[in-house]
């Protein structure tokens, strides 16, 4: 069994990796191997000396490594990895027992995590996380305000605002999740449009669904089984069948039987 590396070794390894991350064209493969070395090192140190969890400098190092990992996952588009790093970081951000100085990337990362939840439609998690954020930050921190405003716009249905919010991202990293969110929104809009319009001309449909070209629109219409008529340049939506007036025999039967059973028990 290899002996655990010392804290100094880990620190120097972290610094070189950090430098590699900051390069214009980072060598992603190399960083990945170094990152896993760092993580193993941290675990080994903790295993050997459990007292180290109360050491602020060590905890600070651990937090920086995890933050770098989260950043790296965004760069490589590894969403599950990002989620794991954030789950570990949460104890540093919300349960600060050692009194560490607040991390500079804390709010950007939390904001990113909020955006991830929105893009995966995890609204309940989104709100649970919101509850833990300090109210002052909630109203003024640009990294947090952005996803919060997005969520409000989504709930209202102001999809235009969501679309515009793409141009107002606080850091470029947000774009990664914004793009995922856009696909979700387009589907949302599609389901709304289906119900509320009888038909739409091509040009209007294109702008409503945020498409740049006609081909994309036609492909999308095909996927949703909309009727396209090229001569009139129109998309017609299938009208929803009104089945509320149908007699739901089976349901009524079930209910009556249940009542009979319960009444029998009473009498």
């Amino acid at each position: 069994m290899s002996s655990a590396p010392s804290s100094q070794q880990i620190t120097s390894l972290y610094e070189t990796t950090r430098a590699a991350m900051n390069e214009a064209n980072p060598d992603l493969g190399g960083i990945k191997t170094r990152l896993s070395q760092l993580k193993i090192g941290i675990v080994q140190i903790t295993m050997q000396n459990s007292q180290v969890t109360h050491d602020p400098t060590f905890q600070l190092l651990k937090r920086s490594i995890l933050e770098m990992g989260a950043e790296f996952s965004i760069k490589t588009g590894h969403i599950a990895g990002f989620e794991r790093y954030l789950a570990q970081l949460e104890s540093f951000y919300f349960d600060n027992k050692l009194g560490l100085a607040e991390s500079k990337v804390m709010y950007p990362l939390i904001g990113l995590n909020l955006l991830r939840m929105l893009s995966e439609n995890l609204i309940a998690d989104f709100h649970t996380t919101l509850e833990r954020i300090d109210l002052g930050q909630l109203q003024s921190n640009q990294f947090i305000v952005h996803p919060v405003k997005l969520e409000q716009a989504l709930m209202e249905g102001s999809y235009k605002k969501v679309w515009q919010a793409r141009a107002e991202v606080p850091t470029p990293e947000y774009l990664f999740f914004m793009d995922i969110l856009m696909a979700t929104i387009r589907n949302e809009v599609a389901s709304c449009v289906e119900k509320s319009y009888a038909s739409l001309p091509f040009s209007d449909a294109k702008s409503v669904l945020f498409f740049n070209s006609l081909d994309e629109l036609l492909k999308f219409a095909n996927e949703h089984h909309w009727t396209v008529s090229p001569s009139e340049k129109r998309i017609t939506f299938p009208s929803a069948v009104d089945n509320t007036r149908q007699f739901q025999g089976e349901n009524i039967m079930k209910q009556s039987l249940l009542y009979a059973q319960e009444l029998e028990r009473i009498v």
């Binding site: 649970t128 509850e131 109210l135």
Partner: protein
Amino acid sequence: MSNNESASMDVEVTPEQKKAEERRILVEDISRNVKFLERGIAASEIHYIHRALRVVSALRKRLQPDVLGEVITTYLAAANQQVVSDCLKSILESLGQHAGAAVASAKVCEPEVAMYFGLLAQLLLLDGNEYERGAHVSHVLVAMVSSTQRRTLDPVASRVFFYYSRFFEVVDRLSDARSSLLNALQTATLASMRETKAMLLTLLLRNYMHYKLYDQAERLAAKTSFPPDAPNNLLARYLYYMGRIEAIQLNYSQAQLHLLEATRKAPLNATTAGFQQTVHKVCVIVDLLMGNIPERSLFRIPILKKPLQPYFELTQAVRVGDLSQFQEVVHRYQDKFLQDQVLILVQRLRHNVIKAGIRSISVAYSRISLRDICLKLHLDSEEDAEYIVAKAIRDGVIDATIDHEKGFVKSAEIHNVYATSDPQHAFDKRITFCLNLYNESVKSMRYPGGDHRKELAYADEAIKREREFAQELENEDFDDDVDGDAMDEDL
């Protein structure tokens, strides 16, 4: 002269006499309750123990450390278990009393009795703001619960845990109590101490929610089951916490159900006013989030009227669908909502306001331009209005179609509700509720322990009487004449 003298005598003696009298009554009350406890232990009947605990709150106002110390000393000599006597000693220590000369009494000091004294000591320390010592004695008591594990200890232990957690709460160190509460939950579950388990669950939920750990609270609730026969006041508290967690996680229908039940389980009187107010505050917001408007009469109930004023104004804004009025109310009462920890929930209401606005427009106009909607609802742009209306149509808020080229919204004809199955659904909901209520009440009925034997005896007697009667019938033929004679005599 003599009259005057006796009057002055009265004045001189009264305070001392009164004090001595008070002490005597207090000692008597405590020992009466201890008797109830002992009877409960002997018969393993929980409700004797409950009777002793019911008067604790009345006793709390009159408690005096030296009297309690005196009573404990008399029991200390009788403690035959090491745990119990250690426990009693540390209670005495925490009260600042010394174990005096041990007066041997014939009785045995049961752990329940020691626990009861511990509970009284906790109350004294809490009222005397001695949190450090209170926390210390609570630790000792909690340790005794886990080492003793008796079913008759259950009701006393649950109250001891309540004050244990309270000591940590007043010094704002709730997170330190969490692990021992979790341990105790495990023990209580294994020893099937139902009341303690119910208490621990509510305490833990409160603990998590204090730190806004809704995620963990939800997981705890999902992994455990709340004892079905827990006392109502614990159940009401548990339901309230559940309602809050679910409201935050957008599970509004469940939240509404739980909050409503919480208000019904707790009685509506002066002592529960605080609870009722807190629950109703959240309940109103959840109601609004669901798209319902709470009854006007709710805001007229005397104990709710004043604290619910901001919520009343909020409701009015949502009902009218006026976005600017809504924002004004939220702004004005921001601190209040923050204090009630509902601000984030309130902010979610924004789109409900818009929905209500759209609905009232759709009812009033058969055809309206998007531009007018935009102006009426104070929206930012026509495009936004179009998307919002489209979403409202999809969500079933209104029944209408949009004409994109001409830029107007056309409402569909209002169809007759009674032609759909909606009324049936409504009836079904009510019927199910009534049936559930009936079943619940049957389940919660209590039957005294030995009663079926009485009934058996009664049945035996009936059989015997039947037999006698049959015999009589048989004999009747012979007795006819005799009876006839007797009747003659009567006449």
